[in-house]
């Protein structure tokens, strides 16, 4: 009984497979025939065309056989929000010797990212390692680590690492557990504790309506901010996509920020372009908390041979405020 059953099942499978195969072959054959028929219907217009093949030889073809083909969609060339811009690796160099706490970087960042919370994405720290060493100003952005601790711990893939080096947040996905904030050793992440208070008639709201009609778009990853989700410095993907520099780089009056491509080995601060490897070698570039193994994409040049006095920055230093409240 059981044997019989097995046999019949086997037969059924066998027949099914054969039938499927036959159909597939038949289908392919049919489509071939129809395409040939199609080609034959408007056969021989009499016009001959000269074309060059990819290896450089000239051939003559009847013009009726020339058809327009669609470009194959090359995944490597398509801009995909989660994949990033292909074949690029964005890095930043921050020259601490030049920073005098002008805070233009922070102002422009707050403005263009519509930051309304109490914690700016870009901060300038008043640093002093030791009593015996000189104090200096240290701007920090998101480090866009190559081993990002935040991405490792995100339970829902809301924060992700792109192939072009950027670490971004999908705030339509974020569940607000703040595990990434606890994971980040650079305290770079901020949380939208309340509904972002843009103000209805403010420039921000109007800009937002014009630019992305109130929706999140690829160019403006993670914007506008959404209550209950995490935000952070995004390396301005909306400007680098248009081959422009991030806002902080262009806004800095002292040329502190250099931005560029590690693969091209060049970075620029908008005024001068330099070799990244040479710059890091000559000026002893380093990364913050290298020992943690996070592999940041942001390099620092030590605050040596200072061109400016540390004291000059004190007047702009605000211990408790990094974001101006909208009027």
């Amino acid at each position: 009984m059981e044997d019989n059953n097995k046999n019949s099942r086997r037969k059924f499978l066998d027949k099914g497979l054969k039938l499927g195969l036959a159909t597939a072959i038949g289908g392919i054959g049919l489509s071939k025939i129809t395409s040939k028929l199609n080609a034959k219907t408007n056969n021989k217009s009499g016009d001959e065309m000269e074309l060059m093949t990819t290896d450089g030889t000239l051939i003559q073809v009847d013009s009726s056989e020339v058809m327009e083909v669609k470009h194959s969609e090359d995944h490597d060339k398509k801009y995909n929000l989660r994949e990033g811009i292909p074949n690029r690796k964005f890095v930043m160099v921050i020259d601490l010797a030049k920073c005098k706490n002008a805070l233009k970087c922070q102002d422009v960042c707050n403005k263009h990212h519509y930051i309304t919370g109490d914690h700016a994405w870009l901060k300038v720290y008043k640093m002093q390692e030791d009593e015996d060493t000189a104090p200096y100003w240290m701007p920090t952005t998101c480090m866009h680590c190559d081993h990002p601790a935040c991405v490792t711990v995100c339970p829902v893939d809301a924060t992700f690492k792109r192939r072009d080096g950027l670490v971004l947040i999908d705030n339509e996905r974020c569940i607000g557990c703040r595990f990434c904030m606890a994971a980040c050793p650079y305290s770079t992440r901020v949380f939208n504790w309340s509904e972002p208070d843009y103000g209805e008639t403010s420039e921000i709201t109007m800009n937002m309506e014009m630019k992305h009609e109130g929706h999140n778009s690829i160019e403006y990853t993670g914007m506008p901010s959404i209550v209950g989700t995490v935000d952070k410095c995004d390396f301005c993907p909306h400007t680098i996509k248009e081959n422009k520099l991030p806002h902080c780089v262009t806004a800095c009056p002292n040329g502190v920020f250099y931005f560029g491509d590690k693969y091209e080995d060049t970075v620029t601060n908008g005024e001068e372009s330099v070799r990244l490897s040479k710059l890091l070698r000559d000026k002893d570039g380093y990364r913050l908390m290298e020992g943690l193994g996070t592999k940041p994409s942001v390099y620092y040049l030590p605050p040596v041979d200072r061109l400016v006095d540390f004291e000059d920055g004190i007047k702009d230093y605000k211990e408790f405020e990094s974001v101006d409240k909208p009027e």
Binding site: A149, V153, P155, R173, C174, I175, S187
Partner: protein, 438 residues
């Protein structure tokens, strides 16, 4: 026959007296207040809490860790005492199972309170990624809830059948429910064989599940870089801490139930003495891991570590730290070493101390670490340098604690808190042994 009737009468669930009713309604009111506060938080956003970008987790998380820890009591008492064949556990196992179930259910609920976007809860299942410790929690907590439920339910089956019979005339409706829940338990040999085998399997399963639960909870912290969390000690530290919190809670609840139901014949000084020794043992183990956790960083004196330990030893959190360490751990150990310390009333007070200490201990694990990040705190409002829970946070947290007690209260009201069948079996066994002797 008379003895068994008395037994059933003593142990069958009874209506609450006036104090019991007031207690229950108080819990209901506190729970409802908590729910109202939570709804307000959902509407306004977590701005109603005092958390900020630095103190990004607060008492929601420490309360969650406390619940997870307390739920460990099912593992330590029921499973471990069963496998080590400690017969004295009989009158307290059911209470332990009830606490375990209530705590783990509340742990699952409290962790959701901390979410910024509770509306996206399902994303954890749709987009979950195995590399995140939160997903490990998402897997282990429901697993532990199921195991705790089964661990409570399977040994209950014969008792439910007894209660069905007992309430047949007096409360037919209730009796019907007991009957349905008892799955037609008749006490036949085949049924008993299946039951005891199932209980054995679940009891053994509870141990790895409980250890995993506590360890994952510890790894939520120790997988991060922060000073005070980045410690290899964390897993064992949390497991031993959970034993302390769980047994502390058990002692307290056992005392209250014993007094409320007048169960002095069943839960005796002997049981308190044994429980006291168990609590002392777990406290000692926990103290050992505490020393590992705090003393070694102090000795190696790494700059960041020493900032952290100084905040605890002499700084902002020193009063709380020493209160928790001395009041919640060292004093109980000393008192429990004496026989007088293991009498019912002292045990109850020690249990309370341990539970309160355990709760604040979790606060000390979560909060101070967050307030000492690697880069200095600058450019944020001054209030962000500190953290103390807001009214919303307190209301919600106390609400969750009340809910846990409410679950325990309801289960105690409708279930026999001391296993009837097993007590009867053991008494019969004792009698036959005595008969043999005489």
């Amino acid at each position: 026959m008379k003895a068994s009737e008395k037994l059933i009468k003593d142990l069958a669930p009874r209506k609450f007296n006036k104090a019991g009713v007031i207690w229950t309604w108080t819990l209901v009111i506190i729970s409802v207040l908590g729910i109202i506060a939570y709804i307000d938080q959902v509407i306004k956003g977590q701005v109603v809490t005092n958390m900020n970008d630095y103190a990004l987790w607060g008492i929601y998380i420490s309360n969650f860790v406390f619940f997870v820890a307390t739920s460990f009591v099912g593992t330590v008492t029921v499973a471990v005492l069963r496998l080590t064949k400690n017969a004295w556990r009989t009158p307290i196992v059911r209470i332990a199972e009830i606490i375990s179930l209530a705590s783990i259910i509340m742990a699952g609920i409290t962790i959701m309170i901390d979410m910024g976007r509770p509306d996206r809860l399902l994303y954890l299942f749709i987009h979950g990624r195995m590399q995140s410790p939160i997903i490990w929690d998402v897997i282990i907590i429901p697993t532990y809830i199921v195991i705790s439920l089964l661990l409570l339910y399977f040994p209950l089956l014969p008792d439910l059948a007894i209660l069905k019979k007992h309430f047949k005339k007096t409360k037919p409706k209730l009796s019907k429910w007991y009957g349905k829940l008892s799955f037609n338990w008749t006490g036949s040999v085949a049924q008993k064989a299946i039951q005891s085998k199932s209980i054995q399997i679940i009891a053994i399963l509870t141990i790895p599940a409980g250890f995993m639960l506590q360890t994952i909870d510890a790894w939520l912290f120790s997988t991060l870089f922060r000073v005070g969390w980045d410690s290899t000690n964390m897993g064992a530290y949390f497991i031993s801490g959970a034993s302390v919190a769980g047994i502390g809670a058990l002692v307290t609840v056992v005392y209250v139930i014993q007094k409320a139901y007048k169960l002095e014949d069943y839960i005796t000084d002997y049981h308190y003495d044994k429980l006291g020794k168990l609590l002392a043992l777990t406290c000692l183990i926990y103290l050992y891991f505490n020393i590992n956790e705090y003393l070694l960083p102090q000795l190696t004196s790494k700059k960041e570590e020493i900032t952290h330990t100084n905040v605890l030893f002499t700084g902002e959190y020193a009063p709380l730290f020493w209160l928790v360490t001395i009041g919640g751990l060292i004093v109980p150990i000393i008192l429990l070493l004496f026989k007088k310390g293991r009498k019912p009333l002292p045990m109850f007070l020690i249990g309370l101390l341990v539970v309160v200490g355990s709760w604040w201990k979790r606060y000390l694990i979560v909060t101070p670490t967050l307030l000492h990040p690697f880069l200095p705190i600058q450019g944020v409002p001054e209030s962000w340098h500190h953290y103390f829970p807001s009214l919303h946070e307190w209301t919600i947290t106390i609400g969750t604690l009340a809910m846990a007690l409410l679950i325990i209260t309801i289960l105690v009201r409708y279930l026999p808190v001391i296993p009837i069948q097993r007590t009867a079996d053991e008494q019969a066994l004792l009698e036959t042994e005595e008969n043999k002797k005489s």
